[in-house]
């Protein structure tokens, strides 16, 4: 982690933390009093951000605070309603993304925008703004090797089709493509969410190299540990406004963590409520932390209200199982979950944890046997059969698979079985939606707001509100907290714990080792499609990292 420890090396000496002053160098990028609304939702109100050459700048804030909107405006992808943008001290106005890119400003978006049907080499040729108009296939392949080498990122094989690659690799391709243009200002929207610890360290090393060469780096992330290990300065947004700008070296992580969770005024009460509910429904945190007992071990349901007969049934039984499309030599899996069990599959992306969960949820075919609540699911993959057996599913991609973005909240919550005999029972839909919006603390103007207008965290809460309302026997959740802030993540975990306490089981996939044990269930590591034994809660991060990397404990 050589690059990660080098903060304060440049750009931060003596520079004041809240305003660019005469003493400090001219900011490479400055946004002043920028406001932006989407319909009724005010995403930014007079937000400020300045970034100095040579620094790694962390942009923090809870979900919906306006981070993505702010950097989209900086990169010319959105037009601000009001406010000013300065590039190296000169006022600028970007009409489109290309203008920003030509001004030396690159944005790596949260969701990659690669061409799925094209190869890695072709995508990088498209992303590299220094690429010649005509270029041989060999030169394009050579670029892949060169960028992978220069930035220490695993970009897959040059001829691989991008849509066959795991999301982590795709993100790295997008990052490498941006770095290839040697931008003066590089903005990364949650680049580390899909990276393993080693890859994260390598990325920070690459970013530090760019910063030392004079580039300004802006990094959106939810991982405070990374910020304090690798960044120089930070800006904290809450509810669309800048609430703190400071040097990392002069700030305590705990203070920022507190500010992040506290978020902003009106939602505090709701959050408190969620935390309380979470504590009540599960066991005390320490009680289940470090459970070494495997998920196979039957244990009586936590909830005394459930009948004895029910509690002895398995909610999920997987036998001699392998998701389709994996190598035939791959180990066959067998595991089961009793009511109240929560199993976390911890894996670096691309190791098959997502594939296991998707196949269990009936989205993709598999070989072997999967039973939900005793009902065998067809091995051809049938989401309806999964649901009929009492399954609920929280997909990795909430925008593509979790919600119909162009329908409103009430309509999304009413699917898949909208109420009404002949005509839709709109009144019932509204009532139900209001109830769930309050119960799950979804921040939205009204039930008739488009789901697409919500921030990521609120969209995820909406998915959970729909899925958990069905009182499922089994919840399969893939990266349910990815891209969410601390409060929203805690709320998601509390909801899953609540469902398990009520007799359900949960199968959760995550790639975040820090988070895996926060679910207070069993944790198993997936490497190349194989399951480890249950991992104890106290396992040191280094050992966990080795396990995830497939190097043994």
């Amino acid at each position: 982690m050589s690059g990660v420890s080098g903060h304060g090396s440049s750009g931060s000496e003596g520079s004041p933390s809240t305003q660019p002053s005469r003493k400090s160098p001219t900011p490479a990028l400055e946004l002043r009093r920028v406001s932006k609304s989407f319909g009724e939702t005010r995403a930014l109100s007079e937000a400020n951000l300045f970034v100095l050459p040579g620094e790694i700048h962390a942009l923090l804030g809870e979900n919906g605070a306006g981070k993505s909107t702010l950097v989209s405006i900086a990169a010319g992808r959105l037009a601000a309603d009001s406010g000013e943008i300065f590039r190296a001290g000169v006022g600028v106005r970007f009409a489109r993304a290309r203008d920003a890119r030509d001004a030396g400003l690159a944005l790596v978006p949260q969701h990659d925008l690669l061409v799925g049907a094209a190869s890695v080499a072709d995508n990088l040729a498209l992303l590299d703004r220094n690429a010649p108009l005509v270029e041989s296939a060999r030169a394009r392949r050579a670029r892949v090797a060169r960028l992978a080498e220069t930035f220490g990122l695993d970009l897959g094989r040059a001829d691989d089709r991008v849509d066959t690659l795991p999301v982590g690799t795709r993100q790295r391709i997008e990052i490498a493509g941006a770095l290839a243009g040697e931008p003066d200002v590089l903005i990364l929207d949650e680049p580390t969410a899909v990276l393993s610890p080693d890859e994260t360290a390598a990325l920070f090393a690459a970013l530090r190299k760019q910063a030392d060469a004079g580039a300004a780096i802006v990094l959106i992330t939810h991982r405070l540990a990374e910020v304090f290990a690798g960044a120089d300065r930070l800006t904290l947004l809450a509810r669309g406004s800048t609430v703190k700008q400071c040097l990392i070296s002069e700030t305590a992580a705990a203070e920022i963590g507190g500010l992040l969770i506290a978020g902003s005024g009106t939602e505090d009460k709701e959050k408190e409520k969620i935390f309380l509910e979470g504590e009540e429904s599960g066991e005390p945190a320490e009680g289940r932390r470090g459970v070494t007992r495997g998920p196979d071990a039957t244990r009586p349901s936590q909830n005394a209200a459930r009948s004895a007969a029910e509690s002895t049934d398995k909610n999920l039984e997987v036998r001699n199982f392998r998701p389709a499309g994996t190598p035939p030599k791959q180990e066959l899996l067998s595991f089961s979950l009793s009511p109240g069990d929560l199993l976390v599959l911890l894996a670096i992306d691309g190791n098959g944890a997502d594939a296991i969960a998707s196949a269990v949820a009936g989205l993709t075919p598999f070989t072997g046997e999967v039973r939900v609540g005793g009902d065998a699911l067809p091995s051809s993959g049938d989401p309806l059969a999964f649901r009929a057996a009492g399954g609920a599913f929280v997909p990795a991609d909430r925008r593509e698979e979790g919600l119909v973005l162009d329908l409103d909240l009430a309509e999304n919550l009413a699917l898949p079985d909208p109420p009404g005999r002949f005509l839709l029972d709109r009144a019932a839909m509204q009532t139900r939606a209001l109830e769930r919006i309050v119960a799950f603390a979804v921040r939205a103007p009204s039930p008739s707001t488009r789901a697409g207008a919500l921030s990521g965290g609120n969209q995820q809460k909406l998915v959970l509100a729909r899925e958990l309302a069905r009182s499922p026997r089994l919840v399969v959740a893939i990266h349910p907290t990815r891209g969410l802030d601390l409060a929203a993540s805690a709320a998601v975990r509390a909801r899953l714990a609540e469902a398990c306490a009520a007799g359900a089981s949960a199968l959760v996939v995550t790639s975040d080792p820090d988070e895996a044990f926060d679910y207070r269930g069993g944790v198993r590591v997936v490497t190349r499609g194989a399951l480890s034994a249950a991992v104890a809660g106290g396992t040191p991060p280094a050992a966990l990292g080795r396990l995830m990397a497939g190097l043994g404990a």
């Binding site: 989401p383 973005l405 699917l415």
Partner: protein
Amino acid sequence: MSVPRRVLVPAAAAAAALVTLASLAVLAGASPLDALGALARGSLGSRAAIGETLLRSTGIVLTAAGACLALRTGVLNIGLEGQFLAGAAAAAAVGPAAAGMPLVARAAILLAAALAGALWVLPAALLAAKRNVPEVLSTILLNLIAATAVGGLVRGALRDPAGDYPQSRALPDALRLEPLFSGGRATAAVLVAFLAAAVLALLIAATPLGLKLRAVGLAPAAARAIGLADGRLKLLAFAGSGALAGLAGGLEVLGVTGRLYDPFAAGVGYTGLAAALLGQAQPVASAFAGLFFAALGAGSSAMQRDTGVPAALAALVPGVLVLAVLAARARAGRRGS
């Protein structure tokens, strides 16, 4: 800026249509005002003209409704023309043999027509579901097969042995639809068409089934993961769309021609698709777009007769309008993202 979209789009479309027609009239060497005047008289100027417009609108409105149902469910049914022909052929096959009370016989004929339309789209629907064959291609190809099959039927199995021309036997006069008002050829079929559009609008916007269909159309991956029977819903949209086009073909035989001949449809299905695109896949708006296209068609004959401007020029207008609307939508989409 604050003019609502649903006022702006039709107004702009109508203006664009008039400007297009006037320019074409100038190119054809006529006075644009005379040409537009003749067009208006020919489509709205008399009972006969109004009757002609309504008569022509029937098939366009119904196929437009079929196109709306498909588009809203994310299905690209370009085969409305073929399904219209299948419906007409079924009506012509069943009709001459139909006996009993006229109401029952007519219902049976129309049912056969709708069923034939739904069946004609089935190969495309199954190929799309099982083999990922794009329905845009398969439905267009089924149009060609339908047109050829009509030619074969009127010369073979359905040929009227008493007649000199290759055409099917005529329906009994008792079954033919009466004119809606004296002096015009329009029948109650046009009411059926508009009623179908209204019912479809209600189905899509306000029923549980409609919500499911919209969800499948807007976000197929999400619909599947949420647990909607996406395959069945798409099949339903295919079949419903084909049934509406088949019904249009049946009504054409029952209300207008009384028999099948070759060539029969002359682009009704394509015009219906254009109306649905102009109406932005909203059934009621698309019905009025269809009515507008029917008026253009009816008026263009008068225009040719009175001013010498070829009627074929008016047939360009739907195409120009659809292109304009699609371009405007693409622009709006880009701005909105």
